[in-house]
Amino acid sequence: MSQNILVFIEQRAGQIRKSSLEALSEARRQAKTTSSQIQAVVIGANIKPLAAQLHKYKPNKIVLIDGEAYANYSTEGYTQALAEAIKKENPAYVFAAHTSMAKDLMPRVATRLDAPLASDVVELKNEAGKILAVRPMYSGKVYGTVEFTSPQAFLTLRPNRFEASESTNGGDVAQEDFAPAQANIRAKVVETHAATGQKIELSEAPIIVSGGRGIKGPENWAMLQELCDVLGAALGASRAVVDAGWIDHGHQVGQTGKTVSPQLYIACGISGAIQHLAGMSSSKVIVAINKDADAPIFKSATYGLVGDVFEIVPKVTEELRKLNLGS
């Protein structure tokens, strides 16, 4: 039986998502252990220029589904296109990055093919050529290892957990155009507005600076934003301050917000409610700055600083500035 892996490459406005390249790289690493073929499928309008970037990651084949009908995302249009490509290639596994597009699209495609989907996967295990998926449950309070009993299975991989790496091996990359039948589209994206403020997406950010009640009011985000700017970090927030209306829900980290796994997570004035810890405790390094030495956040912290955030944060920013990280 083939153990081929098909990877859905997500693009928006002609930009390939980094987490899709992570999924493609991980597929190639898995292929090494099972001698499988990798197909990368891109859907969109005028996407041919993207092929050159994908070549560097050495899939065995790139499939381009290029047409005006795919200029704007529609669940039904993309489902039809991807499902037909999967039927044609008939892979054992379909990978994608776990993004808001994937949450909309992948369960629908998997259902059309009557296949299971393991979502938000953080680790893959290989057992005699069969892939097992490890995924957080209860927002990471426990981890489940999932096995598939069907000939085909779908996996969406959590951004920032798998390394994106170009390949230097010499293999050929085939490239083909594919034109699936048009779907009956009853709902589609008509416009997209960039969010104000946030320059780096939380779930993909390598560094996150987060604020909670301890920053005292929305006027003090500026202090954290300065720290973000010097680190190239994204700004996060606890549920308490989102519910208080200090900042948009898109910034919320934790059980009813985003689950994140950055290299560095700096929690400023966050006490560390169980729901917040669930959303960030898989970060590589956690720094906690809080005036309450008994705050639960310190139990998860790699480095704990007991003290006044208004004193410490500006000094940390100043120290970092001396390093000239951007240059």
């Binding site: 369960p107 449950m137 999932v146 009853r186 120290e319």
Partner: protein, 260 residues
């Protein structure tokens, strides 16, 4: 306007989750169940729509006694009807099987809109809304933070990475609610009293036409093992005045942790 809402009973988000003795699930002893937080937004949106456009609201939940409890709570908030999908075989189902059971219960109801929370807190699969839309052959909008419905057309605002996008489409459709869609109401005393007298309909696998088709042996995805998260290494406190703390931290992040 006929509106369906699908909800799930999940452990209270304050609960400390422990692995069960068989290492295949969590320990449900002493767990208090609540309506999954995102499903509260789904219920609220259905109630608001009914207030605006008139019609009838029906809430569905699959599971054991805990499902009956959250259905009762939804009735107390003002839902008109409740349907409990309950069968001995409806245990430890994968998302596709849950979607099949819900679709079977909803498909002939003539609903104009089907609402779900965007994710059941716990399994965290975030799949059932799209599965349901596919099985019901309906258009969908997921992760919705704002919804307008006029004349069997909808415009939904979705939260995506670093942006918001706007989806327009036609009813009937399936929607999944993201935090921010609305402010859920609490059940009123009057609502709680009224809900006590309301009947919760039950449907088993036979009634849904799914006898022998759904259950543990028909799942295509099985949880083989549940484990606690990897323990975090022992951390350390950085002492001194703010100047020293800041200098030490930056030095450690740079040279020890090597993350900057």
């Amino acid at each position: 306007m006929k509106i369906a809402v699908c909800i799930k009973a999940v452990p209270d988000t304050e609960t400390k989750i422990k692995v069960a003795a068989d290492n295949k699930n969590i320990d449900f002893a002493d767990v208090r169940f609540i309506t999954s937080p995102y499903d509260e937004f789904a219920i609220e949106e259905a109630l608001k729509l009914k207030e605006k456009l008139g019609g009838e609201t029906t809430v569905f939940s699959l599971g054991g006694l805990e499902a009956a409890e959250v259905l009762r709570d939804a009735l107390a908030r003002g839902m008109d009807n409740a349907v409990h999908l309950k069968d001995e075989s409806f245990v430890n189902l994968d998302p596709l099987s849950v979607g099949k059971a819900l679709a079977a219960a909803i498909k002939d109801g003539g609903f104009d809109a089907v609402f779900c929370g965007q994710q059941g807190v716990g399994g965290d699969n975030s799949q059932v809304p799209a599965i349901l839309a596919e099985l019901l052959a309906l258009p969908q909008a997921t992760l919705v933070v704002k919804l307008e419905i006029t004349d069997s057309k909808f415009r939904a605002e979705r939260e995506i990475e670093g942006a918001h996008e706007f989806v327009e489409g036609t009813l009937p459709a399936v929607f999944s609610a993201q935090k921010g869609l609305n402010e859920p109401r609490y059940p009123s005393i009057k609502g709680v009293m009224a809900a006590r007298r309301k009947e919760i309909a039950t449907k088993d696998a036979q009634a849904l036409g799914l006898a022998g088709k759904i259950g543990k042996d028909n799942c295509k995805m099985i949880i083989r093992e549940v484990t606690p998260p990897p323990a975090r290494p022992q951390g350390r406190l950085i002492e001194g005045d703010a100047d020293t703390q800041a200098k030490t931290l930056v030095e450690l992040l740079r040279n020890e942790a090597q993350v900057i």
